[in-house]
Symmetry: C2
Amino acid sequence: MKKTVNVAIMGIGTVGGGTYEILTKNHDFLLRTQGIDFQVSKVLDKNIDRIRYFGIPENKAAATVDEIAADKSIDIVVETMGGVEPAKTFIEKVLLSGKNVVTANKELISKHWPALEAAAKKGGAGLYFEASCVGGVPIIRALQEGLQANHITSLVGIINGTTNYILTKMTEEGMSYDDALKEAQQLGYAEFNPTSDVEGFDVAYKLSILASLAFHTCVPYQMIHREGITKISKADIKAGLELGYRIKLLAIGKRKGNEIEVRVHPTFVPAAHPLASVGGSFNAVYVNGDYVDDLMFYGRGAGARPTGSAIVSDIVYAAKASGPVYSDFENNGQKADDIVIASDFSSKYYMSISVKDVPGVLAAVTGVFARHSVSIESVSQRSFGSGAAIVFLTHTASESDIMAAVEDIEDLDDTNKVESLIRVLA
Amino acid sequence: MKKTVNVAIMGIGTVGGGTYEILTKNHDFLLRTQGIDFQVSKVLDKNIDRIRYFGIPENKAAATVDEIAADKSIDIVVETMGGVEPAKTFIEKVLLSGKNVVTANKELISKHWPALEAAAKKGGAGLYFEASCVGGVPIIRALQEGLQANHITSLVGIINGTTNYILTKMTEEGMSYDDALKEAQQLGYAEFNPTSDVEGFDVAYKLSILASLAFHTCVPYQMIHREGITKISKADIKAGLELGYRIKLLAIGKRKGNEIEVRVHPTFVPAAHPLASVGGSFNAVYVNGDYVDDLMFYGRGAGARPTGSAIVSDIVYAAKASGPVYSDFENNGQKADDIVIASDFSSKYYMSISVKDVPGVLAAVTGVFARHSVSIESVSQRSFGSGAAIVFLTHTASESDIMAAVEDIEDLDDTNKVESLIRVLA
């Protein structure tokens, strides 16, 4: 039953190097347990030092992607370059040459999935991207191969390790956002330019992929409501803890009928919810299906070894597959055109308002809420010096009503500003 | 691409009925998302009332298993009868007739896996059993299709909802074991004869399956060290809580080289461990792999709908598979003969000893520990009336040393009894 499968790796950075390490160090293990003799026969990286760093024989270095595309002995090509270009061009070339592609590139998949799938179909090749979401956690396999019986009703995840590390540090050690970010950068958890992580782009890319698979319909990342964590203050974290919440940057996908709600924003999570205790750089995805009920998948969301684990899982999967499988959203009765991505959504809200400490201000603010049909669960007011702060927890309300209320509240004579508005996971 | 797949269901109880419900209610959904028109064409149950109860047309009722085996239009047979016989005979018949079998029967798989796989091979059919372990949680798919890159080093699970419900009630509401069991029985979480659950047999069956898959080698359930929860007292639970532990019935599988450690016993789990907060009838499996690091899979471990979800997942999987895949333990270089199932293992221990309140007793007990190389992490002594209780937490020690120490401690003049000995998850 033994068969040899030749693999090429494009991009020998941390993750590409980790993938090479697994395929070589666990070579005999994979041969014994999977019946496949995996050989890394070519690697591609413009920097030969990186190839040397991982101890890869230099005669495996390909000069160009065309050399890989033209090599008929290669079955599977791993893309671990990251970014959109030249990764997209390279992947399309090897797909068109009929080679299966395994990629960890969430940005590319979320932005160009249809184009890549078209190239895969044209070449008769498969496109695999388990490693693009939630590192080593086999969440894509679970959605595609383990939960097919279910209409997924919701998918709520902590799917960015950088922001979870920062928020955990702020929560557990009272650090400021700036200090926690600096520490994350020093430890290599955050990039020098942290925008993609802290502004929620990375989460939106992943949510676009996961929601598309969960809801069997293409969910473009541009349609995801996205807010990052840069405005979260120590005061917000403290207020949340006092109310029994931990703040998390959540990716939320919900489906009601043909309406899909997709959003990324900081959220107060009740301390008893399984997601609340997902700390540090760990990730987790909480899924509900109509038959399976609640599930949670927890693990390392990033890093060379966990991401390499997911890539090699896809390599084995592709090597054993009877043929490529496509998402085929356009052929399963739900074109992208048919989706209604909800422009509005409902949530519970935490709102902190700085006001003048004068009679009648609470009445004025609650009057605004009443006019916008926002019902209040609890309220507390605290005076300090010349001013005061009023903190509200609302019952479930619509985002549009809340936003209208915020505007009207800030227009009142005796209010200063809505200092914080944080959604609360119900 | 649409293809019709005919399914037969043997055993129309809760889970078989749930499977029928999913295949009919989600028929169009499965057709659209999976491209397969699933038809339940035959059902088998000696009780026609149960077939009627689930609204299954009576003309689908088969008279015998032979009728199903002989029906060339049937592709997949679901076995939801439970127990060893006649399920084993029935499954072998349909496997030999070349039909794929999907089963939720953990007892049968753990006791007769090799025989069933032999029948499957002979018939050229596949044998699928995702539903046998941890209900709706796709843990078998994760081990087989998501974590192939990894040597699994440990697998620790709460995989029995009945006992977890009982222990949760004892922990959170201070109920006695008997009262919690009674409540579980009233709610249908525990059987009238609860032995299989509370004595750990059910957990051992599942651990045998999960450990075999995780460690790529057949782990017979008879070789699993097994203890149930019937001896756990309110005092144990209270003592654990005071020390920061929650008690859970754990299934533990660990691998070091070719040595496998498999055991089922009540365990003190540190409150901060993700498994500690898995409450009520929820299940979870905590897995560590050499590349992926720590993972946890959490969800409903039982019930018609979650188990039905797993069965239908297997049905879809089998319908799309290019051909059957066998565990093939005997062909992958690690025969059952080669396994060393460790007879001993190491753990931290909690030990409570009732003693006479006389001088020298602590010195005598600690002397015994020293002679057996058991190192003490903490000790506390409490007097009451004429006696006293000494409570120890040990550092990691071997089970055999601890057991020898228990014997010697009980032989001391001034000790009465080792009242509790509970292993502590490190």
